[in-house]
Symmetry: C2
Subunit: 430 residues, 2 copies
C-alpha cells in the first residue's frame, strides 16, 4: 500500500502554524508499522488543490487529505475534490438534518455558512465527525482513495483513530504482524542513548526509533514479524537494564502521567510551591482526571512577599541566600507541605530568563526541593539557557523525576548527564 | 515565479521531528511577500528523491531542497540530483581542499565519510556553507532551478538568507508587494465571524483567512499590490467596528499576551486563585518575560481545605453553595486579592470533567470572578464538554477577557454567543 498525506491551508504552507497534524499522523502510522511515502502541502487555491488531488491519485493507493472543510470561503477541499473527480457538489441531506438538530439542541440558529459544510462531491462516502460541524468524506479517484479530514486537531485525531485507521486496515490488508514497545527516557541526549544502545545486538526484524520531545526522549522498539515479536520483550528488558535510571516510564508518554498514576495508586497527597515555573507543574498534573485525589494545592509564590506571606518562608533566608537558592527551595517545600499536612511537597525556584541572570546565578539555574514528613532533598541544576519555556519545562521534569524516584524508593537525587548539578543534598527535618 | 520546497529525510516524513525548517522558510518568504506554491516531503529513498526532483522540475521555476547533504549513507540528495539530471557525480576539488584545510586548522583528520560531501552533480554550481562541512549547490533541471541546502537549522538559515534569497531576487524579479494584518477574536465561532464579515464588501486584492486555534479564531487580512495595501487599513478598521467585542487583540496572537502587555503597561498587580484550571492561567502569564512585574501569586486551591485554609473562603459558603458556584468564585477572588492587597484578582472554579458532573452542575460549568478594591464581577458559563483540556483552556480565556475588558473600561461582563451564560452579576464590596 502506498500511503500519502496532503496538508492544505495557507497557514500551514506559509509557516504561520507548524503542521502538528502531519507530525501526529506520521507518528500514529509509525505506531501501526506503516510508512508514509510522501507528504505534500498546498495552499487554499482551487487550481493547486485540483492539480495535486489528480496528480497524487495516480501514484498512491490511499491519501489522507487534511484541512479545508470549514464553513468559510477559503475552505475549498470539497469543491476541489468534486472538480478533480468531474462531478457536481450535492447537498448531503442526512448531514444537513444532523447539523440543524445539533444547533437546535444548543438553542442556536445554524449560520448560513454552515450549509456549505453539507455539500459533498457526488458519490462521496460521508465520514462522521462526532466532534464538529464539518463531516469527513472519501472518494475514489484513479488508483487512490482520497480520505478528507478536518483541520481542527481534536476532530482530526478522533476521525483518524475511529474512522481512517479501520478503513485502511480493512481496505488494505497489512502484511506482517507488528508490535511496538516504547521506553520513555529523561536526562540523556539522543546520541548518548544511541551510543549506549548500540552496544546491545539488535535482533533481526527489530528496528529502533528515537523521538526527542523535550523534556523526554522516547525510544520506540518496533518488531515486524512473529520471530521479532517473540524476541522483543527480552530485548526491551535488556535495554531497561542498560539504561536503568534514564527510563522514567514504560507505560506512559510523559513523566507527569507516570507520576500522576504513581500518586493515584499509592493514595498519598501532594502540595506544590512554584516560582519560575509559575503553575506549569500543577497544570501538568491537573491535566489528568483524578488528580484531585492527591493534589491538595499549589502556591505560585511569584513575589517574595508570597513566599513569606503564604508559604511562611523566613525573610532572613530570602535575604541571606536569595530567592533562587537551595535554602529557599527547602523552605518553600516545607511551607507548602505543612499548610494542609500533605504527605509530599515539591518546590521549584529558578531563573527562567531571558533577563534576571547574574554571574553567580545565571539564567537556567534552578533549585528544586522535595520534602516528606521526615526529610528533605534539594538539588540545584543548570539548565540550557535556550528559552524561557525550555527552562520551565525541564524544571518541572526534574521535580517530577525526584518525586518519582522517591516514590519508587530509589533515592530522589541522581545526576543527569546533560544537566550539570551545582549542588545537591539531603537533610532531616528539625 | 512558481516557488516550491522539497523537504527530505525519514525523521521529517515520519513525524519524529516537526519540520521547523519548512515553517521558518515559508515565514521568511512571506515576509518578503513571496508565496510558496507547494511543499513536498519525502524520505531518504533514491527512487522517491529522483522522482520528485524530476516531477517538480517540470512545474516550478525555483525549488528549495532541504536535507540529505550529510556524510552518512542515508544522505542521498546529491546522488539523486545527479541521477535526475542524468550526469555523474564529480569531486569538487575546491571544496575538498577547503574541507581538508578546515579539519587541519582544528587539528583533526578528515573522516573518509566527509569525502562524500565533496561530490556534486557534474555542472552544479557550488553554494558556500560557512557554518558546516556540507556545501550547498544548485542545478538547472527542465524548467526549474533546484537549490540544495543542508538540514542543520543554523546552516540552513544562513544559506537561505545569504545565498538563496539574493539568487532568487536576482533571477526572478518579484511582482506585487504584499502586506498582512491580523485580528485576534474570542467568543465567536469561525462561521459566525464569517457571516458577519461577509456583509462588508471586500476590497480588490484583499483576501481573508480564518485560523481557529482554541480558544481564539485569528482573522488574517492579506493585501496584494499597492492599491490593496492602501485600502487595507480602512478595511481592517471597518472589521474592528463590526466585530467590536469579539476582537481581543490587534497586536498579539493570544489573549494571554494581550493581557500581559496591558498589565505591564498599567503597572498594576494581579493575584490568581485557580481550581479546575490548576495553574494553567498562571502558567500562561508566566510564559512571558516580565510577568513578575504584575503577577504576585497564584493559589491553586484544588482541595476545599485549600480554599478555606489559604484563601480564607468561608466554610459556610462552600457548604451552602458548593465549590462550583458564583459565591465561592467571589470568595476565592476576594481572598486571593487580599493576601498581598493586589490591585486585581481572578478566580476560576468549575467542573473540568470527564467525571464529577451532575444534572444541576454539569461538566463544563465554570464560575469565574474578577475583583478589584471596590467591586466584584462574576459569571457562570457552560463550556463545551468535549475535553478536560478544552474546558480548562476556555475558562482561562474567559477570565483573561473579563480582566482585559475591565482594564479597558468596557465592563467585564459580556455574553459570548457560543457560551451560554447561566448567571452573571456585579456586587460592590461590603
Amino acid at each position: 500500500m502506498l500511503l500519502e498525506m496532503i496538508s492544505t491551508g495557507e497557514e500551514v504552507l506559509s509557516g504561520q502554524i507548524v503542521d502538528t497534524n502531519a507530525a501526529w499522523f506520521a507518528d500514529c502510522m509509525m505506531n501501526l508499522g506503516i510508512e508514509l511515502n510522501r507528504r505534500s502541502t498546498v495552499g487554499d487555491r482551487m487550481d493547486d488543490l485540483c492539480a495535486i488531488f489528480t496528480e497524487r491519485s495516480i501514484e498512491a493507493d490511499l491519501i489522507l487529505v487534511n484541512g479545508g472543510l470549514g464553513p468559510t470561503s477559503d475552505d475549498l477541499s470539497a469543491a476541489a475534490a468534486a472538480k478533480a473527480c468531474g462531478v457536481p457538489l450535492l447537498e448531503h441531506a442526512q448531514w444537513r438534518s444532523h447539523l440543524e438538530e445539533w444547533f437546535r439542541k444548543r438553542g442556536r440558529t445554524m449560520a448560513a455558512s454552515n450549509l456549505k459544510q453539507c455539500l459533498l462531491p457526488q458519490g462521496a462516502v460521508l465520514v462522521d465527525n462526532p466532534a464538529g460541524s464539518a463531516p469527513g468524506f472519501r472518494v475514489k479517484l484513479n488508483r487512490a482513495w482520497l480520505f478528507f479530514t478536518p483541520g481542527v486537531p481534536v476532530e482530526f485525531k478522533q476521525m483518524v483513530q475511529e474512522q481512517f485507521v479501520p478503513f485502511m486496515q480493512q481496505q488494505f490488508r497489512q502484511g506482517l504482524a507488528t508490535r511496538l514497545c516504547k521506553l520513555l527516557t529523561f536526562g540523556h541526549g539522543e546520541s548518548t542513548l544511541a551510543d549506549r544502545i548500540d552496544t546491545v545486538p539488535l535482533p533481526d526484524g527489530i528496528t529502533l526509533g528515537y523521538r526527542p520531545s523535550p523534556p523526554h526522549v522516547e525510544i520506540k522498539i518496533f518488531a515486524r514479524g512473529a520471530a521479532a515479536i517473540a524476541s522483543q520483550d527480552s530485548y526491551v528488558h535488556a535495554l531497561q537494564q542498560l539504561l536503568a535510571d534514564a527510563v522514567v516510564s514504560t507505560r506512559y508518554s510523559t513523566i507527569a502521567e507516570e507520576v500522576h498514576h504513581l500518586l493515584s495508586e499509592r493514595q498519598v497527597t501532594l502540595a506544590l510551591a512554584e516560582s519560575c515555573t509559575g503553575g506549569m507543574l500543577s497544570s501538568q498534573l491537573v491535566d489528568f482526571p483524578g488528580s484531585s485525589a492527591y493534589l491538595q494545592h499549589c502556591v505560585v509564590s511569584y513575589a517574595d512577599a508570597a513566599k513569606t506571606g503564604i508559604l511562611g518562608v523566613d525573610a532572613t533566608i530570602l535575604a541571606r541566600y536569595g530567592a533562587v537558592s537551595p535554602e529557599t527551595a527547602i523552605a518553600m517545600a516545607k511551607g507548602a507541605r505543612s499548610i494542609l499536612d500533605s504527605d509530599y511537597a515539591l518546590a521549584i525556584t529558578g531563573i527562567a530568563g531571558p533577563e534576571g541572570g547574574s554571574a553567580e546565578k545565571p539564567v537556567g539555574m534552578v533549585a528544586i526541593a522535595l520534602t516528606d514528613r521526615e526529610q528533605c532533598f534539594v538539588q540545584v541544576v543548570q539548565l540550557s539557557q535556550r528559552s524561557r519555556n525550555l527552562v520551565r519545562t525541564m524544571s518541572c521534569a526534574v521535580a517530577l523525576d525526584m518525586l518519582r524516584r522517591h516514590l519508587l524508593g530509589t533515592g530522589p537525587l541522581t545526576s543527569y548527564p546533560f544537566l550539570p548539578a551545582r549542588q545537591s543534598y539531603r537533610e532531616a527535618h528539625h
